[in-house]
């Protein structure tokens, strides 16, 4: 499997650790084999220009077309031209992060409502399954010859 995400000028990264954890940044220059220079752009992501170790960041699929050491202003324009923020928000990675955050912030009442909604959903599915006269099928792989067992 070849690598597809490279550390390069313009690579959009997600910061995993530190005071800016959870925010996006863009690599604008490479310092050495352990660290690089990133910038938000500050107005869009809230990350200021700083040197950060590769260990603290995760590369995303997105890149932006900029020259090395681009100004914050140029970077902002490049982000707007490439519509990077919307592309990120619509990615399943970003959606999963948002869902996790939402789940952690639910109140006791919210958790109750979620429980009721899940029950209603499974009731609808079960009804439909019975209607279609389907049964759930499981494959029993404990023996040498796998057996198909209907539940």
């Amino acid at each position: 499997m070849p690598f597809t995400r490279y550390v390069e000028v313009g690579r959009v990264v997600l910061i995993n650790y530190g005071p800016d954890a959870g925010k996006l940044g863009t690599i604008i220059d490479i310092v050495d084999q352990n660290k690089c220079l990133i910038d938000g752009p500050a107005e869009i992501t809230g990350v200021r220009r700083q040197v950060i170790a590769y260990k603290r960041i995760a590369l995303t699929d997105l890149t932006v077309k900029i020259q090395a050491n681009a100004r914050d202003k140029t970077l902002k324009k490049a982000w707007a031209d490439a519509d990077t923020l919307n592309k990120w928000e619509s990615s399943s990675w970003a959606k999963k992060l948002a869902a996790k955050k939402k789940r952690a912030s639910l109140s006791d009442f919210d958790r109750f409502k979620v429980m009721v909604a899940r029950k209603q959903k499974s009731e609808i599915i079960a009804k439909k399954m019975a209607e279609l006269d389907l049964t759930l099928v499981a494959v029993d792989c404990s023996d040498d010859a796998p057996n198909v067992v209907a539940i």
Binding site: A104, L106, S107, D108, F109, F112, K113, V116
Partner: protein, 175 residues
């Protein structure tokens, strides 16, 4: 300095100021206010979700199920054994001014009967709910139930019990 003309025969100690005991209002957690839904953690009704009506002078919280929803009557509860949720009910229509700590104190008849019981042996006495309690419960709950019905799913929420399952981490849960 000249000795004054008059001085008392006995040395008088200077009068100490009388120490007035200052009774502060009871400290209630910031998360608890009238109308907050509480989760009871201990006692006969542990696990029940209940509406807080007010804080009494003793520091205990006055609480009601409402009785029709989960069987918790007008009751006093210690805030140390309670989780305050962020959900709250509009309590403006509920009148609990007449209910104080004195309302819940044991009557002298009950005390006397207890002494006789001690000498008689074990025979558990049936708890009698006075008509006054029932009347007050209905009066308070009438307004409370209206407020609860105004919020969708709140009645079912108050009827349900609070439990922890194996994947729950209470220190990370927001209430």
């Amino acid at each position: 300095m000249q000795t004054p003309r008059y001085y008392p025969a006995e040395d008088l100690k200077p009068v100490k100021p009388v120490h007035k005991v200052k009774q502060n209002p009871p400290r209630v957690r910031a998360s608890i206010s009238p109308g907050t839904v509480l989760i009871l953690l201990a006692g006969r009704f542990r696990g029940k979700r209940v509406v807080c009506l007010k804080a009494l002078e003793s520091g205990l919280l006055l609480v009601s199920g409402p009785y029709k929803i989960n069987g918790v009557p007008l009751r006093r509860v210690n805030q140390a054994y309670v989780i305050a949720t962020s959900t709250s009910v509009d309590i403006s229509g509920v009148d609990v001014k007449s209910i104080t700590d004195k309302y819940f104190s044991r009557t002298s008849d009950e005390k006397k009967e207890k002494e006789e019981e001690f000498f008689m042996g074990d025979a558990p006495k049936q708890a009698v709910v006075t008509d006054q309690r029932k009347a007050d419960q209905q009066k308070v709950d009438a307004a409370l139930l209206k407020a609860v019905a105004a919020v969708p799913m709140l009645e079912a929420y108050l009827a349900a019990q609070f439990t922890l399952s194996s994947s729950d981490k209470p220190h990370l849960m927001k209430f």
